[in-house]
Symmetry: D3
Subunit: 228 residues, 6 copies
């Protein structure tokens, strides 16, 4: 196998990285590309603002470049997709942002996307992002839990809100597929899908799935050619 999938968690929480790593087990296999999950030591405890997101880009690019020789593709495991555009300018290897990959994948599973976000300001930022991606016409709604990244770990509180928000997206906004708007929600995916009766996408899994395909097929982007 000619390269690894390098997944970078841009926050500094090792617990968060471990949870991401665990959620990727179903995509591993004896001859599948290896999946390595890294924590960005320089990152904040959680990426919860635009300043947090922009601030991780330089160290994230440095970390990616240290791991470039063995990498077949990169995944940035934060729903703000920090550093994705920057990294694409610097490497011809595929770079998957989990927001972009999760949302595009969801378009194949439903007609109208519902997004569960952490904080109210996430929703504001997502609006710009969805227009930039060009798919805002396919979004049914985007609702915040009102919980920061850290609070997601308290399953008792977090799951109840997650479910209530997802039900609202399904019933009042006519969403027929749900995208989890934070890598830290991965642990609730299966339970939510069962309770909801709709497909629920963990965007990190979706992005790593795309990265595996890219690695196996050897795709290279036009970074060097048209972006210099």
């Amino acid at each position: 196998m000619d390269g690894r999938i390098v997944v970078i968690n841009p926050n500094s929480s090792e617990a968060c990285t471990r949870a991401i790593d665990a959620a990727l087990d179903s995509l591993r296999g004896p001859e599948a590309p290896e999946i390595v999950c890294l924590t960005l030591a320089e990152g904040p405890p959680g990426v919860e603002s635009q300043c947090d997101a922009d601030g991780v880009v330089v160290p994230l690019c440095r970390l990616a470049e240290r791991h470039a020789p063995e990498a077949a593709a990169f995944v940035v495991a934060c729903f703000s997709d920090p550093g994705v555009v920057a990294l694409r300018e610097r490497t011809p290897k595929p770079v998957l942002g989990i927001a972009e990959a999760g949302l595009l994948t969801a378009l194949t599973l439903g007609e109208r996307l519902g997004i569960v976000s952490i904080l109210a300001n996430s929703v504001v930022r997502h609006r710009r992002f969805l227009r930039a991606l060009g798919i805002e016409g396919r979004v049914a709604g985007d609702i915040a839990l009102g919980l920061g990244v850290g609070a997601l770990e308290d399953a008792a509180t977090a799951y109840a809100r997650l479910r209530a928000v997802a039900e609202r997206l399904r019933d009042a906004h006519e969403a027929d597929v749900i995208v989890l708007g934070c890598a830290g929600m991965a642990g609730y995916r299966q339970r939510l899908e069962a309770d909801l009766g709709l497909p629920v996408i963990d965007p990190t899994q979706a992005a790593v799935g795309m990265a595996i395909t890219a690695a196996r097929l050897g795709w290279r982007t036009a970074a060097q050619r048209t972006r210099g």
Copy 2:
């Protein structure tokens, strides 16, 4: 492994199915989901018109349903995505159309998509499809080779035109990723990518890559719930 990827070539050409099958080898592995490629005996020699595309839907649904018990996900291997919407109404298992999956995947590899089509009337039909998908703002251009499905097999003629069209998409239309607009172009992907210096997507590979992820993660769509 809990299910196969069932790839259906909706034209009746066994040679075409064999070529598709061969292009999927790099996505196979000892513990990966099995990939089975089927030929639709009732299909036309090549799907080259809207009537061809609409006409295969009923037998295609029947063929899919015969293979449903062992299927984890379906892929329709024709760039008109015939039967994809119909099949989605009838099964909760993920159904990937190669046009939809190829184009959405390409959005992660470039900013502007260039599409190489077979015939002039394909381009007309794609315009409706791209708007329906909601991504027409990301398309740099769509140019026809002026060759039917059968003529693609004559490598001498076909490749020269393919390359000329792709170069026009790159140079005059500023495309930075190319999507092959027919399953029957798969055999030219690697050579074209090398000659062009841009990523070239075989949409069947992209769709099967998505289907593998879907199969491994057990996604089910909302078919039964909101579409009845």
Copy 3:
């Protein structure tokens, strides 16, 4: 008079064809183009799914071609517009789909369109259709009655729901023109318009109106030229 308007009901219900035919009487006249309504014997009792819609295309094209010598224009009288694109590839004579014609006509009578659909899955399919047509920005809402084509004939039940849905489109969604989303609702148009105080479009009447103009003016499309 140099040609007839050939209206094809793609379901197999003669009762449905008779109702459509009756609703067209106000568009007939001694020197007006003749309007002939045909039933597609091979069609399902009602077109209620994408598979139903795709499945009628081949026999519908055959039926249209048998009537081509005397036809000035064709109308497909089903709100899924089955076969409209296929037929346009095969004949230079104008082909009007009632969804397309009804919606475009409604744009001249109001700012925001309200659509009354039969089933929930119709609404899902219409979303793709409205984007493909490029007018999704003008749609106020699309609400299903939850009644199949057959149940529309039971006036007691059907009209009450129709009225309730149309009032919701007017009052909660700010629609100022209503389009009936099924040829089988034609009989309720005048009563609904009177009760509602908004224009209500029977799409078959709108399409036949356009077909009459096309027939009188002798329009021919570019089928032979740019779509081959």
Copy 4:
């Protein structure tokens, strides 16, 4: 027959009104709604600027209201659609602008619209109009002849330019239907259609066709209800 189609030419040229009137003969019949063409005496010789267009609205509304008792529908026969929105606020009878009606009708005859305009500043104004209508995604191109309304009458000069512009729309812009961007071009429609091999829409004919349908079916808009 319960009402006339009142067509208003908002320029002051009787010759222009007579030409419009003649082009409508094929839509007349013994039992068809009567079509009456009026000249706006207060109008400019040709509507060639936004100020011309806005300036005719008040007298145009007055003229329309004088003819309201016998009118079933109104048509404003100028491609700037002056007074159409104003008139719709004042009467529940259908008001058709020839630009709006011509463009929407053209969407049923082709995938991509080509517009032939009189002056460069017309093209600038049309851009706003096409966005307001919500169909800019369906326009292939809009090219000016560089001739004012008056100069259109000189067939020798005008037709050669008209044909050259229309061929450019067909060949370089991939238009598959042409809309004449001025009521004064009506006389060239048939010749251009024959020379071009594409459908050519005289927007006044298209609008009057829609008005006849509206008159026969007795449509009334929501003017009184939601616009007060």
Copy 5:
């Protein structure tokens, strides 16, 4: 200083012009461009319909042209932007419509615009305008007070409704910036902003701000060149 800002109130109310004038005091300064507010004697008491708006264009252009020699830029102080396009065709000096300038300025202060309109038919007209401007995707909502221009002067009634509508835009529509949809609401701006906790834009102030910049920098548009 090389030129004045000429602000034209297109209704005939001197009281309205005085209120507009007063609201511009904070943009005046000893060396700032002079701001002159004019009343259009030929205008209606309030511009409340499309016919009102179109009807003022010719006298408004005449008034502007009389003041052209000393003008550096023009502002049309009515949220229907009457005459803005017409005037742009006639002068190379910048012409600011308060709707256009107010809405574009608001885009720099919030993600989602809320518009407070006077009458229900204003909202209908704004929809066309917002699409023509190309920013409809950024509008959270547009709600009418149900009060004409004159009734705005009765502060007791008017302010309560204004506040209720603005709170609804903030709370139910997620607007994060409010644009006052009539020049006559200027007097309530500061109070509303304080009560609401969101930025509230008086569009006349925004337009005059832009006009001052344009005057200081000497911008000239392409009127003579590409629009002749």
Copy 6:
């Protein structure tokens, strides 16, 4: 006067800051808000990549916050608008990005925007930005000079290319207003405008113009309220 306009040049070139400062003289006045131009010492020599842009955000926010007590509004003087969204989340004072402000202002001066960019990869990034802003439908073209920020200072080479690119935008792309896509092009604005016959916007001037209005009117955004 209650506050200054704080303009931050996020690259480390003092020469560049001085040039920006000089271009703002025409917006200064004895009673106008003071305009202070700062250089970001931590910035790169020129912001020429996404990594450059993202990398300046944290120090830029720190610099802004040090100057917050005296600031009425902030302007980020780089056409990538680095830190604009981040800063908006952290302060209720208006934050103007020069790309956003320059483009929105240009919409009041022309129908179709032409953008002159420095490098090919700028054009790629602008596409995302223009969609995020929601105004991509108003852009005629965006063409790169193929010169980095530093090379802009060599007037002999730079101006010739600038003019050639702007003429292409005007003649081949039908742009009727030009926006300079880099703060470092300010010195060429007047000469280009004279040579071109179209309005040419220096985006820093446009943004500072908006900031002055914002400062005079005391606008505050919803940062504290809906974004926490």
